[in-house]
């Protein structure tokens, strides 16, 4: 059984994925998570989740190529420069 570990480095910070390991049940998973991700005080909290419990979403169809919905199609650098010049706040 595979378990995924999310770890928090400091209180208040978001949990980030730390890695994964095999363990036969929750008791083993608890012990191994402590050993692998918190032994050197590198985490203040852990989320240990069976991989099967994670609902993964990987497909995001964009059949009609609706680029205009995204912001990455526009280069605003030149336009921003122009606007700043007009406003007299251009960076020197």
């Amino acid at each position: 059984m595979i378990w995924e570990v999310f770890r928090q480095e400091r209180k208040g910070q978001p949990f980030t994925h730390g890695g994964s390991f095999h363990a036969p049940d929750k008791a083993f998973a608890d012990a191994y998570a402590r050993e692998f991700y918190a032994r050197r005080q590198e985490s203040v909290a852990l989320w240990v989740v069976p991989r099967d419990a994670i609902h993964a979403i990987e497909e995001f169809p964009d059949e009609f190529d609706l680029k205009y919905r995204r912001v990455d199609g526009y280069s605003i650098k030149a336009r921003l420069k122009e606007a700043r010049e007009r406003a007299g706040t251009a960076a020197t």
Binding site: F21, D25, A27, D30, A31, Y32, R34, E35, F36, R39
Partner: protein
Amino acid sequence: MNAREQLLLELADDELILGWRNSEWTGIAPFLEEDVAFSSIAQNEIGHARALYDLVGAALGTDADALAFDRSPTEYRCAPLVQLRLVPDWARTIARHVLYETADAIRIERLKGHEDAELAGVAAKIEREELYHRLHAEMWLERLAGEERYAAAAEELWPFALGVLAPELRPVLAERVGRPEVEAVERSEPGEEFAALWEEMTMVRRSAPVGAQW
């Protein structure tokens, strides 16, 4: 050497040698995760040995390294239980792990209340780490308890486990483990099996010139 130093040295030797024996599983444990966890427990035990040797060393005017590596094999006071080389028998290894951690918990609890505040403080620190060793031992016990090989190993090692503790603490261990008190395998001058471990353990230290700095 007084009774306090004698007691500390027995405890430190137990932790060092068990740490050493457990570390023999590094790289060859039944699966990768357990390999890392068991090696880490081994390191903890050696860390506990270091803290205890520091205490004895201060009293005897020497240091932890000298106590760990510079004595002759016959001077070590570790219990026969920790001296056994159990690789590659995982059932016996876990049986020893479970029995040792149970016995160790009993004496550490006692030491926490010791009149010597320094010793009581070290015992309290050790206890906090040993808690995780016990949880680890218990989860394995739960997994293997019904197995014939495990039952045979626990039966075989039981007299050795009693020998870890002073006679007055043995009834407590018998009660916790749920086994009758039998004749214990007592601490004595270490034998052949230990001598081989000592050869390997002190090899690097002995090969270096006296006073070498690491």
